[in-house]
Symmetry: none
């Protein structure tokens, strides 16, 4: 048996409650000697940290900087090399579009072509979001289906939108219908396999009809599509780990990722406090909770060290209401690092703390990269977090006799 099969054969359903707190982009880099976590005042975490075991997790592998898709898949216990989430799917998740297995998603741009069909502006002058909504509404009404395939268009920001084709047997092995630079003629998509031919024809037919329909919408007089993708065939967390999992997240993309692995997405508000309240309210109904706090990543992406420190402090203030629920297993970690210094995701490992009745407490003083590094969990791949949580929740049988 493979390790994956063994794991799956060992899990059992029990009443114990597992809670995974994900601080997005939590890992950082030092500025004047201290990382964001080191600079933050976190009295609530500090009080509990000594009782946990700590470690560092690698989202994917040494040196690899993950996007949110792969890093979350890994945290949820899925091999991020095996299950790929395409660009179109990620964009759709990012605006709360619920995809089915029959859906083919693509990222779209409104663009400008001249009378000869040459692209003169790939972004249609970055039309205002308001204008984008208007054009999408028009196009959505104008073309509802092509050869029996249903088409939905969802506006994003400025010139961006998401297009979803829904129909049986659609394929996503298609080339981008976007030359990626100005001065070229817009091209259609091509199927990368025999089986993808029909899908390519449908997409190209749509492109043709959309461009005709948009004739009078200059500068948004054509569309470019890329990142064609379908949701991966992925077993649910319930199939894989016998969990009844629920997700609490204020941002659509994370709700979408959770939905991909079969989590129930709970209705929640916009604030950390509301997220914690949701956890409390639904605590009896599930046995695994993923609770996502977005702010540290946003501050990191903005290169705003102070703001990231504050985001951590804000999370610290809401943690007591989670501790109070006394989950059997509580994990506090991040999906990837987003150091303010780099203004982007990075390859650095994230600190992790695991609380349960069945640990040999490390006595660490703080939840920081350098404190956790001295913990018993050592440095390990993010994909091992779920097995560890299951074990600590006594949800795993013995392997072999």
């Amino acid at each position: 048996m493979t390790k994956e099969e063994v794991l799956q054969s060992l899990v059992v359903q029990t009443e114990s409650k597992l809670v995974m707190v994900v601080m997005d982009g939590i890992g950082g880099l030092p500025v004047r000697g201290k990382t964001e976590l080191e600079a933050a005042r976190t009295p609530n975490l500090d009080r509990l940290t000594p009782k946990a075991v700590g470690g560092l997790i690698d989202p994917i592998s040494y040196g690899i900087t993950p996007g949110s898709g792969p890093s979350h898949l890994a945290l949820f216990g899925y091999d991020p090399f095996r299950y790929e989430i395409g660009r179109g799917v990620m964009e759709a998740l990012g605006i709360d579009v619920v995809l089915t297995k029959d859906d083919l998603a693509a990222r779209g741009n409104f663009a400008t072509i001249d009378e000869k069909g040459i692209i003169v502006d790939r972004r249609a002058g970055r039309i205002p979001t308001e204008k984008n909504r208007e054009v999408c509404a028009f196009l959505g009404n104008e073309i509802k289906e092509v050869e029996g395939v249903r088409i939905s268009i969802y506006p994003g920001k400025e010139h961006r939108f998401v297009l979803v084709f829904r129909g049986e047997g659609l394929r996503d092995d298609l080339t981008d219908a976007d030359p990626q630079k100005d001065g070229l003629k817009a091209k259609g998509t091509e199927g990368l396999s025999q089986e993808a031919r029909r899908t390519a024809e449908i997409v190209n037919l749509y492109l043709k009809r959309a461009t005709e329909a948009l004739r009078s919408f200059h500068p948004a007089n054509t569309i470019l599509l890329r990142g064609f993708s379908k949701i991966p065939h992925i077993p649910t967390m319930s199939e894989k780990f016998k969990l009844r999992p629920a997700a609490i997240a204020t941002y659509p993309m994370y709700r979408g990722l959770a939905r991909l692995v079969g989590m129930e997405v709970l209705k929640t508000g916009e604030t950390l406090h509301e997220e914690a309240e949701t956890l409390k309210k639904d605590f009896d109904r599930y046995d695994f909770f993923y609770i996502h706090f977005k702010k540290p990543d946003m501050a990191g992406e903005d290169g705003n060290f102070r703001m990231k420190v504050k985001a951590v402090e804000e999370i610290d203030r809401v943690l007591p209401s989670i501790f109070k629920l006394k989950p059997d297993v509580l994990v506090i970690t991040g999906d990837h690092s987003t150091p303010a210094v780099l203004k982007s995701h990075s390859w650095h490992p994230n600190p992790i703390l695991l609380f349960s009745k069945y640990v040999r407490p490390d006595g660490l003083r703080r939840f920081t990269e350098r404190h956790c590094q001295r913990g018993q969990l050592s440095r390990f791949p993010a994909t091992e977090v779920i097995p560890l949580m299951l074990a600590n929740g006594l949800k795993m049988k013995k392997f072999g006799a």
Copy 2:
């Protein structure tokens, strides 16, 4: 995608400079409580070590003692189980023979046979190196080709030499033409596949003609060949990692290994100082440098603890001129351990330090096995060193969205 494919898809070329300093056989074992690194005085390293992140690398895997071939391949980012370098090829590299894909290399011994063809001495009485050169020169002139296959012979030490067959379609799946003990008849090689038959015939024809030619060269009156091998099909570091890599090494074998992965081998002198000078001189022309310091391994192989300590101290003295170049990423490590106690390579992991702007410094005090073990890089496979260096040099895009 496999991890390897993902990695390859993420690398980008940039101007940042990566330098990998390899102290051959650096890992050691304690004598009176201290390993060679612990016993050495290394003021220059000590000054910089606190700024780095440290760890321990396993050349191959727990318990596996590597030769120089596999350990270097791993350091260069290649799976050492996948790419094998045969004995003949290693010997050829060791005497600076540049091999092409049409070359079949073998290790050779001069040996003594009696009138019945029985081997009475597999090493021809360990003839002096001077005599070896003479016999090789004779044989090289006598037999230049067999059935259109070009033959070159290169003397080694005492009774040893390297033989290279050059011709299209030669195979290396051949048995050794060496019974490995005295008292037996010399036997030819056999092809291990249908396709290897022709190669075996050519080799055996050569053996016959060489033995005839050597009739009057007693005790060197025949030859034995083993370790038939060709260079592996291996992507270059430039293909795999988009690097422009250069190697600085005073010993042929390491130059040869670097050449196998497509590094440019830089002309350098015999001393550490000259190696450092070469790095300085060519620093603008490449973006990856492998610089190899041989002495610790030699001292270790000799079981000379004091000498290995001195070799480390000597390297420490030359390091400031490398630090001064301010590479964006600097790694200091070893290819494998060679503890003086064992007088041989060993399976122990090697300490590693990585310097870059984008680390959370460990504040380690010294570059030793036991200090580095407490570092953030933790214990990890040598194959991950290059991905880490690429990431720290900002030469990798994000994986997924």
